[in-house]
């Protein structure tokens, strides 16, 4: 494979895996969404401070949800899990489930309360 030239003439039939051909427009749209969410995140991190003064647990819930949304978008569109084989999703999700379990149980064991409401960070 290494000795192939990249000249346009030699291009054979498309060699994609199961996923749909990558689409520049979608990539850029996703980037814009990710960028906007990041801005919202920065804004949301001031929610529990004056003048808004929301409860800390609301801020944390919002922030964690936004981060999860960003992660989901990256995984689904930039890492192609939306279009690729279910097997990759299964492999990745299994790891994420065990990782989440680990993090939650560790936080519980160290006395963070059961709901995010009590999260003392």
């Amino acid at each position: 494979m290494a000795n192939q030239t990249s000249s346009q003439a030699e291009v054979a039939a498309p060699h994609h895996d199961a996923h749909a051909p990558s689409n520049v427009r979608v990539y850029i749209q996703i980037f814009v969404v990710l960028f906007v969410i990041t801005m919202v995140e920065v804004f949301a991190s001031y929610l529990d401070e004056p003048p808004i003064n929301l409860e800390t647990w609301i801020e944390i819930t919002v922030l964690v949800a936004l981060a999860a949304l960003k992660g989901l978008l990256v995984v689904m569109f930039y890492m192609h899990l939306r279009f690729d084989s279910r097997w990759f999703t299964t492999l990745f999700t299994t790891g994420i489930i065990i990782a989440t379990l680990m993090a939650i149980v560790f936080l519980l064991l160290w006395g963070y309360k059961a709901s995010l409401g009590g999260l003392v960070l």
Binding site: M1, A2, W87, T94, G95, I98, L101, M102, L109
Partner: protein
């Protein structure tokens, strides 16, 4: 190492060096499996010698055979060696040889990575063992509880635990890479017709184990790196006097440590599930239950880790929760036991050595399982934790379970691996000695634990009622040693005098019996059509409705391989895996002497690694 003296399947008239070179550069899963097995047997013997020395020390009260420090070193190295350098690699070795054959593949998914895993295992083992010679052997126990392991404390301040930390990480890299290889091989390289619900149960077990390794090892990696920082760079993750939290070590360690128990035992479950149907001449009873209960055990295994820590004061809620999840594990395990018994029930039993080991496995493992259920109950655990009761419990699981399972596997697959049978007579002798020795060694430990003998303590006073049974245990350990010696003798004798088995000495069911013994480099000349869970059985005894004529591999296989003679693409041998593994080990020694010029060791090690990585990458690009 004894590894290069292994019999070569097709011994030609090549010189000795050519043969050694061939084994060093091999990427053949069968040779790598054999290397794994012989290296691991060497470490098994070494770890056994550690255990014998411990038993001699404990044979009499107030004995002075070993000093307390040496006793600490020996029990630490006994545990570490047996877990990481004996049982795990024995499982990997058997899996390496058998799994690709069982699923009908030509090799593992990444043959060069496979070689890399082996060399990392060998060098990691040598690294840890070199502590006997050039330093001090690790002395804080195989679970290396901080702060004892972090700053010396009552132990002398040496780099002993740095050997442990770095060695464990080299072995960990080996295990993770090997596990990824197994997962991809099993998911992706099955022969046509080998659906998931037709895979042999040994393959299922190896698949679950590989996932356990992939998900459990990162935790010990993080924990041990933090421990290294605490020991060498002045951080205080686990040092309570500077605000750190020793409980964090325990949780990170056991998040790995408990799945590790299943990593050790599940392959034995798989072996037993292969041996029972063949030697009772029946299909396995409850195939799906056995397969899915392995998955259930694997998943539940990540939810029970803190049952190792009931006595450290987590509080009643945490203790109750982890007790409940631990008790739940006994359900899928019990499912397996009943299915195995039902497989034997009514079968026409062919009582050969593998079945002896298999039946003993059930007996011993159930004892270990029941004491496990007892220990999962916090009030009982408070009374028995850190006593010999626990030592007795886990030796019934890991010796009566894992080791007996492995011996069943050795006697079962030895003819396939080497083209020679192991002697049945010596096998039966070995079995009875091991069975008696094992029970004599570990059964009294339950009693001694109950009456209060603490584990990890170098001696005991006379007159406490410990003397008689400790002496018996030492005699039992010597009987086990005799049994292992007979096994080694059997191995040596079989090379010359072993019966030539033919392709299928046991009248087997699974694909490895469809090829020659030992198999050719490309594994299969003819591949049977896989229509059921017992393709080879179908081939031999199938009725007319099943198409069981062997068909040519080329026809079953692939598209554009015209240029290869037998239609199978085998990767060429490679020298780079051993280079890469060597570089990482050099860097490991650099980390060991970080304050006395070790930085240069790291630089040199990383440079050597880079040569290996670049070489492997260019070879991979050429595939």
């Amino acid at each position: 190492m004894a590894t290069t003296a292994v019999p070569v399947p097709q011994a030609g008239e090549r010189s000795r060096w050519a043969t050694i070179w061939e084994w060093i550069t091999t990427v053949d899963h069968k040779r790598i499996g054999i290397l794994y097995i012989f290296t691991a047997i060497a470490f098994f013997v070494w770890g056994g010698i550690d255990a014998l020395l411990l038993r001699i020390q404990l044979a009499a009260p107030e004995n002075n055979f070993l000093s307390p420090q040496v006793y600490n070193e020996l029990f630490t190295m006994h545990g570490t060696t047996m877990v990481f350098m004996a049982v795990m690699p024995l499982n990997v070795g058997l899996g390496n040889f058998i799994v690709p054959l069982m699923v009908g593949a030509n090799d593992m998914a990444y043959p060069r990575l496979n070689a890399l895993s082996y060399w990392l295992f060998l060098f990691g083992g040598i690294f840890l063992s070199s502590s006997y010679i050039i330093g001090h052997p690790p002395d804080a126990g195989w679970f290396a509880y901080a702060p004892l392991s972090a700053n010396g404390g009552v132990l002398p301040k040496t780099n002993a635990m740095d050997f442990w930390v770095i060695g464990i990480n080299i072995l960990g890299v080996s295990s993770i890479l090997g596990a990824v290889n197994f997962i991809v091989t099993i998911l992706n390289l099955r022969a046509p017709g080998m659906k998931f619900n037709r895979m042999p149960l040994f393959v299922w077990a190896q698949l679950v184990v590989a996932f356990l390794i992939v998900f459990a090892f990162p935790s010990i990696t993080v924990a041990s790196i933090l421990l290294y920082f605490d020991r060498n760079f002045g951080t205080a993750f686990f040092l309570p006097e500077r605000g750190g939290d020793p409980m964090l070590w325990q949780h990170l360690f056991w998040f790995f440590g408990h799945p590790e128990v299943y990593i050790l035992i599940l392959p034995a479950f798989g072996i037993i599930s292969e041996v029972f149907p063949v030697f009772s001449r029946k299909p396995i009873f409850g195939y799906a239950f056995i397969a899915y209960s392995s998955v259930a055990i694997g998943f539940l295994g990540f939810t029970v880790w803190a049952h190792h820590m009931f006595a450290v004061g987590m509080g009643p809620i945490a203790n109750a929760a982890f007790s409940a999840t631990s008790l739940m594990i006994s359900i899928p395990t019990g499912v397996k036991i009943f299915n195995w018994l039902a497989t034997l029930w009514g079968g026409s039993l062919n009582f050969k050595t593998p079945l002896y080991y298999g039946v003993a496995f059930i007996f011993l493992f159930v004892i270990g399982g029941i004491t496990g259920v007892m220990l999962a109950i916090p009030p009982l655990d408070y009374q028995t934790t850190d006593s010999y009761f626990v030592v007795g419990h886990f030796h019934y699981v890991l010796f009566g379970g894992a080791i007996f399972g492995l011996f069943a596997g050795f006697y079962y697959w030895w003819p396939k691996m080497f083209g020679r049978m192991l002697s049945e007579r010596l096998g039966i002798w070995q079995f009875w000695l091991m069975f008696i020795g094992m029970n004599l060694t570990f059964m009294p430990m339950h009693y001694l634990g109950m009456i209060g003998q603490p584990r990890r303590t170098w001696t005991y006073e006379a007159g406490m009622g410990f003397e008689f049974w400790n002496l018996m245990e030492t005699i039992g350990a010597l009987i086990i040693a005799l049994s292992v010696a007979i096994f080694l003798l059997n191995v040596i004798l079989s090379r010359r005098n072993g019966e030539i088995p033919g392709d299928d000495p046991w009248d087997g069911h699974t694909l490895e019996w469809a090829t020659s013994s030992p198999p050719p480099a490309h594994n299969f000349d003819k591949m049977p059509v896989i229509r059921s869970r017992r393709p080879v059985w179908d081939l031999k005894y199938g009725d007319a409705q099943h198409f069981t004529e062997p068909r040519d591999v080329k026809a079953a296989g692939s598209t554009d391989e015209d240029e290869h003679s037998h239609g199978i693409h085998l990767p060429p041998p490679s020298f780079y895996p051993i280079i890469l593994a060597f570089g990482l080990t050099v860097a490991g020694y650099g980390l060991l002497y970080i304050y006395s010029g070790g930085v240069w060791g790291i630089v040199i090690g990383l440079s050597i690694m880079w040569v290996g990585i670049a070489g492997l990458a260019s070879e991979a690009a050429r595939d």
